[in-house]
């Protein structure tokens, strides 16, 4: 029998899923009536994407006066705009264009400008193969809408190790998260214990100062600092360094939460427990912690979710996490939507798992009967 809170959480998840799918569907749509091109003249008045280079720029401007030209210095962004229908044709130098077409049959050359008779050099103008009239019929008939989606999914997920990128990224993200969470928790417990009982002041004060000062630096910068400076000369893997950095960062907030919620349980409650004959440890276990955990649980879960989101910066220190997987797949397929959707869903899944497992653990440990 699901509780009201659980039902609310589930319906929230479903609605998020639905929104994502709708957004994605919109984003992933292609404009209905796609023009077909036969030769360069068909591009009059169209929007051109020009790959940055002296040759491309000047020839394009000469040959297509008055056309809407947009400059790109990254092929990735250029092709993404074409796929999204924001631009109609690609203008790039012949050599690069040949390389693209060699590996990607989705693009065909509409015509060349300034090339030799053998078709070398100069600039090439490319359009998506499906919009290239001589071949378009075959393309369009060959694919139905569903088939198109199937191919997209295949290309993004399964072909060329895309799947490996995603699972590898998932694994990396989870490892960094767990490592950081455990480290943060242990450090926070240590700091809280020392703070409440005023023990080991020689260790407590400098450590406390260090952790809380560090917390003011963004977690990204911190990760990079640890990786490129502090641990640069060691052979520690980037995953470990990321876990340490994020662990120290998160432990500051956790310490604050622990300390406030534990000391909030009034001194008189503890005295009542002691008067009944409970040892100090028993007072903490049966009186203080059950109450403190209940109040601090939502805050701790929020901190852990923040930690999960912070792991997405691991790409900055050259770790192959989920975000990097998106980038990698995007670079090959020029399709942003599907990888992003999948990765977003994975993050949602991880978030949900955090809530369930932490909540469940606390339930088991501290609530009786």
């Amino acid at each position: 029998m699901k509780s009201i809170v659980e039902r609310k959480n589930l319906s929230r998840m479903w609605s998020i899923l639905l929104c994502l799918l709708l957004l994605g569907a919109l984003g992933g749509c292609r404009p209905d009536a796609e023009s077909l091109y036969t030769d360069l003249d068909d591009l009059a008045g169209k929007r051109l994407a020009v790959y940055h280079g002296v040759l491309g720029d000047s020839l394009a401007q000469v040959h297509f006066p008055g056309a809407d030209l947009k400059d790109y210095d990254k092929t990735l962004n250029l092709f993404i705009d074409i796929e999204a229908g924001k631009r109609d044709a690609v203008v790039m130098d012949g050599v690069t264009a040949d390389m693209v077409m060699a590996t990607n049959s989705d693009y065909t050359c509409l015509g060349r400008i300034g090339a030799t008779a053998e078709g070398v050099g100069g600039i090439a103008v490319m359009v998506p193969t499906r919009q290239y009239a001589p071949l378009a019929d075959k393309e369009v008939d060959a694919r139905g809408w569903l088939q198109g989606w199937k191919e997209r999914i295949h290309r993004n997920l399964f072909a060329d190790e895309a799947w490996h990128l995603i699972t590898g990224g998932f694994y990396t993200t989870v490892i960094i998260f767990l490592g950081a969470a455990v480290f943060a928790f242990l450090l926070a417990v240590l700091l809280t214990y020392m703070g409440i009982n005023h023990k080991w002041g020689w260790l407590y004060h400098p450590l406390h100062w260090f952790v809380f000062t560090i917390h003011d630096i963004p977690s990204v910068v911190l990760m990079m600092f640890f990786y490129y400076v502090v641990f640069a000369s060691t052979s520690l893997s980037g995953i470990v360094v990321a876990a340490i950095a994020l662990g120290v960062y998160t432990s500051a907030s956790l310490t604050k939460i622990f300390k406030i919620h534990i000391t909030q349980i009034s001194k008189e409650q503890r005295e009542a427990g002691l008067m009944l004959g409970l040892t100090s440890r028993q007072v903490y276990r049966y009186v203080v912690f059950p109450q403190a955990v209940r109040t601090m649980l939502p805050l701790v879960i929020a901190e852990l979710k923040l930690l999960l989101r912070s792991t997405s910066y691991a790409g900055y220190i050259a770790q192959k996490d989920l975000v990097k997987a998106v980038d990698a797949i995007r670079g090959v397929t020029f399709d942003a939507f599907l990888p992003l959707l999948i990765v977003s869903l994975l993050y949602l899944l991880l978030s949900w798992l955090i809530t369930r497992s932490v909540g469940g653990m606390c339930q088991k440990l501290f609530v009786h009967d």
């Binding site: 008189e268 008067m275 409970l278 007072v283 109450q291």
Partner: protein
């Protein structure tokens, strides 16, 4: 069975307990009374072991007390607090079962049986599955007492347990205390005179950190030997308020008077008249010459109420003063409420002081 010998306790610079000695016999009910800040709460906390003594010792059954918080810690002494301190995350039943299970190592069944027995003793067995927040304050206080009793203490310490309760709840608690007297020794800190005279075998009056007088409740309340005791005990019988300036707290004064009237079973009409009189009188007398000691006295024999004001030293006369020009309306009201008013001069250590007395009409 409790022997307190020559204990001293200071908090920083302030010495709160000065050379206090007291004994409590088994099954005896001792009430500690005294003004605020006299150290009675500290005394009881020292017996409980919640405060460390500077010097002196407290023996329970001839042996020094075991420290709290360690294995085998204090159980012979149970303490009930003014704010009950029930564990809010546990039901009433589990509140009572916690200590027996983890300290006395009873099984769940045994602990539950004992808990139910104690709850029946205090009359709250049907609330056993409720949480403390669902109970009234009187019920919570009784549960707190039952929680102590499951540990079978020999002494029960009670720190102002009725101070936060309404009269009905106070009676509930008083009934339970009467029953408990037969089983445990009680050390009760209170300023409820009625409770003390009902329950106590002995009354201890403390002031300023030391014990002034010890005796039966009849001796202490009706025939106090020491001056300090007499002053304090009378103060409880009368209502006293210090008016320090023009900006005195009128509502606090009126509330105090209302409480006094209720305690003495005076009618609403009388209460209203007393409040009105005090307000008008304080309009006509000078308020910025020093602190005025205001007292409301009720004589049960003659059933008369009188309002007395002791003016600060330096004022030679009020009613006969040349500059006394009271508002006509105020004087009319005062004359309408009183059947006599007079002025006398009293000799006080700080100089002669004028005492104004207004006797209220019946």
């Amino acid at each position: 069975m409790i022997e307190i010998s020559h204990i001293n306790k200071s908090f920083g610079d302030r010495q709160v307990l000065k050379d206090v000695s007291l004994t409590v016999a088994p099954h005896e009910a001792v009430c500690v009374i005294g003004p605020m800040g006299c150290g009675k709460s500290t005394l009881i906390r020292c017996i409980a072991g919640l405060e460390k003594l500077d010097s002196g010792q407290i023996l329970l059954d001839g042996a020094p007390c075991k420290p709290l918080g360690k294995q085998g810690g204090r159980q012979k002494v149970g303490m009930v607090f003014q704010s009950y301190n029930l564990f809010p995350h546990l039901t009433v039943l589990h509140n009572l079962m916690l200590a027996p299970q983890h300290v006395l190592h009873l099984t769940e069944k045994e602990a539950e049986a004992e808990a139910v027995r104690q709850l029946e003793l205090v009359g709250l067995a049907e609330k056993m599955h409720m949480f403390p927040r669902e109970l009234s304050s009187g019920q919570r206080q009784r549960v707190a007492m039952a929680r102590c009793l499951v540990m079978k203490p020999q002494v029960l310490l009670l720190d102002e347990i009725t101070s936060a309760l309404d009269p009905l709840a106070t009676s509930e608690v008083k009934e339970v205390l009467r029953k408990l007297k037969q089983e445990v020794a009680l050390v009760l800190v209170t300023h409820d005179m009625a409770l003390a005279s009902d329950i106590a075998d002995r009354v201890v009056f403390m002031t300023d950190g030391h014990i002034v007088e010890v005796g039966t409740s009849d001796e202490v309340f009706n025939h106090p030997r020491q001056e300090a005791t007499r002053v304090f005990v009378n103060r409880i019988r009368d209502f006293h308020y210090a008016v320090r300036s023009r900006r005195y707290d009128l509502y606090e004064l009126h509330a105090g008077m209302a409480h006094f009237c209720e305690r003495n079973n005076l009618s609403h009409e009388q209460k209203f008249r007393v409040q009105l009189l005090s307000e008008e009188v304080l309009q006509v007398v000078p308020l910025d010459k020093g602190t005025i000691d205001l007292a409301l006295r009720y004589s049960e024999k003659e059933k008369t109420l009188s309002l007395e004001l002791l003016m600060p030293a330096g004022i030679t006369s009020v009613l006969h003063d040349k500059e006394f020009a009271p508002d006509e309306l105020s004087m009319a009201i005062i004359e309408g409420l009183c059947d006599h008013m007079n002025e006398t001069v009293e000799d006080c250590p700080e100089g002669p002081r004028v005492r104004l007395c207004f006797g209220l009409k019946e």
